[in-house]
Symmetry: none
Subunit: 202 residues, 4 copies
DNA sequence: GATGAATGAGAATTCATTCAT
DNA sequence: AATGAATGAATTCTCATTCAT
């Protein structure tokens, strides 16, 4: 069960390619093997079973992505810049690897026992980042003081995910990253006309 | 292939129950039959095949829900109230039928040929509603004039979906509808502190 | 289990139609019922089960045909005329009812327990007719005295069946009966050139 | 989908055995697998599906037989000897492999889409052989000059098939090949008494 | 380590037959 | 007698997984 070998990576990438095209369930181990250029049995030298491939996808690919979110956020000083970095990185990472994006979006909502734990962990990572940004932003006086962290996280993550989904559905052609700044402005300012009672009175 | 009979409804509800618990793919027709209290073969008197059950779920259940969104929105006069009704109804419909919610959230991201068309149709319905709200809100001077409809739709739909997902993951115990107003306020006012440069200058 | 009623005949005819188009096995009882304009369950008021429909086909249709062979043969006085009548009637009966012809030719070679007995019986009828013709023909000095009855029967029946098969394969358009006299001449005279050593020396 | 392997042959032979005993339709893939001593799934490594087994039977077994007809005919110089070789080989090939004989006779009259093409092809092969024999025989002055090829082919093929069928029904015990020469004499001389008006005047 | 042939459990689906109405 | 909805046994086929080479 060697990880970090060239063949491990080769199989995992092939799997993501195949899963992206057909969905995890519609894909067969034989297809993954063929796409990876190895024999069917070889898969089992690197992965416990088919489910484990998906698990490793989260463990090895998705986790990496989330760690880059962390790093991107850390590169900024102010909360609003951190937020901008978060959204930008989120979009650019998914744009850079559309197969990863497709698999992530499609399989994350299936309540699989195998992946439940790690998905929860990544969700927590995201929440931690947003929490940090919100609290710092409030200290900096840049964000409203009455925010519910959980709700803000859902607002941000939900909207970004939805933008990614739309991009996938459209074929992944357009420039996803260019949506980052408009999105952030929307997060910050909302859709209500300023000075019209929303939401200063809240 | 009788629709609208008692047995049809009975099987469809059973299927949703089973799919919600195990996911569509992990569920067998035999399980659905057992849960519906009918013989395996009976399923095929009402549904073309297993995929057709999922299709009918969208056609018969989800479509109904989206039509209720439409009606709820139509009951309000002003754009902001329409938005509030949309979000409230969205949350309350899903809260009222958690199995429907689970199946909808889990299966909508799978790019199944069978369901693609109807999902796209519902997505369009949603976009039409948001478009109407935004345009009216702008005419009323309540919403910012520089909004990109697509982005606003993703903001709203994405955030609401994410809230629903979190609720599902938490076991569906809490009161989902109570999140409606806070969410709407967030949409309208954003998270930025008013008067701090976001986004009045835009 | 009423026979000889109008509905019995109606179902049997429908069955033959359906079996002719699709083969016995590929046909479903539901298709037969539909083609007969009755409910599925009604079939079982007239036939024990699906196999019984095929059995009744032989019992009621094919047997009738073979009895007409008998009668046609009896109408002639001389052996050669009897033979001619046999072949003519054989061809004309099958030409008159192509569905019967198709089902008979297709299903007779399947060694079904249900139909074995009656097929054997009809085979015996045929052999009796041929035996009679041959023996009479020999007494009349018109047929060679050294014939093996079994072989003659196979020659005649086999050739006639083959002609019918070819006709079916060709779509049943051409005039089958017109092959009768040429066939009989072939039976009588063979394909060898007379006086060239065949088969007088044998 | 490896052909020409030992296991391929093993499964095909087992299938023919099972089909001969029960008929193609009455046989299950599981029975074939068991009879071949392999697992059910193994069948599908060598055959596309159940129908393909029957197709391969024609492609690999029956075609071989027909090619032996060709070769046997080519070994003779004179038309009548060619005819004799054809009939002898036909009977001896079927006698040598009674299971093949049973399956061939039983399934050839079912108008299956899968096998239609190859059966037609073999039928054409047979017709070509007969045509060649007849034309050569006429040139040699040994066969009547007024023969209809199609009819002659049906006479020969039909009679031979009928002889084979009778042999199968009788349990395949008797010596089939010994019927060859009597059959050929019958073909050549017919059943009519020479000099009695059949068919010298034609 | 790598292979890929073989396995056999498991699932979808069909359809002859029954039986309450 | 007639119906046709319901049944569930039976069958084909798939595919994750194993293991001898």
């Amino acid at each position: 069960m060697k990880r970090n070998t060239e063949k491990y990576r080769q199989i995992l990438e092939a799997a993501i390619r195949v899963f992206a095209r057909q969905g995890f369930h519609q894909s067969t181990v034989a297809q993954v093997a063929k796409s990876a250029g190895v024999a069917d049995g070889t898969i089992y030298l690197y992965f416990k079973n088919k489910d484990d491939i998906l698990f490793q996808f989260y463990e090895y690919k998705a986790r990496q992505v989330f760690e880059r979110f962390r790093r991107a956020v850390d590169e900024a000083t102010h909360a609003v810049d951190k937020l901008r970095n978060l959204v930008r990185t989120h979009l650019s990472e998914f744009q850079n690897d559309i197969n990863m994006a497709i698999v992530y979006q499609a399989e994350t909502h299936q309540h699989r026992r195998t992946t439940q734990e790690i998905i929860r962990e990544m969700s927590k990572m995201y929440r931690d980042i947003v929490t940090e940004i919100v609290e710092q932003g409030q200290r900096e006086g840049k964000l409203r003081p009455d925010l519910t962290i959980g709700l803000v996280m859902r607002l941000i993550n939900g909207a970004v995910n939805e933008v990614i989904n739309a991009w996938i559905h459209a074929g992944g052609e357009s420039d996803l990253v260019s949506m980052a700044d408009p999105l952030v402005e929307l997060f910050l300012g909302g859709i209500g006309k300023p000075g019209k009672g929303y939401p200063e009175e809240a």
